[in-house]
Amino acid sequence: MSVIVKKIAQLMSGLIFVYGIYIITHGHLTPGGGFAGGALVAGAFILLILANGSEYIKLKRQEEGSSVVESAAVLMALVLATAGLVAGSLVFFNNYLPEGIPGQLISAGTIPLYNIFIGTEVAAALITIFLALVIYKEEISK
């Protein structure tokens, strides 16, 4: 890709990343949530790789890292859901944290935490799939 595309992609991907983080953390207040925000965060990285080529990041290490992050995020969401069995009433997915004042950033109990974990999981899963395909193409062409 040309210099213009590379520079614009580098400038834009930061904005897209921050917007994805905003969508994830404000998932209980504004439209969006873990799934949409995670796709945005993954899109920021995919845009960088598409513009700069696969030499831009150390591919192999990145793929392993993102798959570990993905698995850990799913595990954390499961641990959080299972903690509802211990805290308060014996209900899986029990919302045991205090609700707070609706409309504030820290409110709605466990829902923002679930959103953060699932946002991480979605972003890491999409990046993992994309990187796996890119690495596959690299290894085939060698």
Partner: protein
Amino acid sequence: MLSVIIGFMIIAAIVAIHAKDLLSAIIAQGFVGYGLVICFLMLKAPDLAIVQIVVETITLIIMVAVVLDSSRKELEVSFDRRQAGTIAASFLFIMVLLLYFNRAISGLNHFGGHSLRMSEAYVTGAASQTGALNLVTGVLWDFRGYDTLGEATVLFTAAIGVITIIRLVGKK
């Protein structure tokens, strides 16, 4: 109007079972699928209709490709006496299923008339019960947490599957 489409779908399903040529059987099966799309649209579920169009088209393409690649003739299956027990068991199972279906359906609203009991409880109670102003997130992560966990697991499984299949070359 709805019952006319459902009648055509039933006829197409019977044709699909009895057609000698497998390609025409697939076309009749596609008729059932796209009739279901029109049914979803008439029952005011456009999101389901979109998903059904996508799934039906992909399934039809795959099945047409399989049939064109293998054989268009139906396999001749002769009746075996050992199958009598299986047929009797499945007939019994279908009768029991129909009995309980009949008992369950008597408590429902008439076909096409929506019952809004559940969604009314969600709309009025979600904000005060969960503390989340975004009702969709409140429903997703509180009332229907199992459902969302399944969705997240589907994506996890997809990533694991892609790594397992695609990265075999590199990990060797």
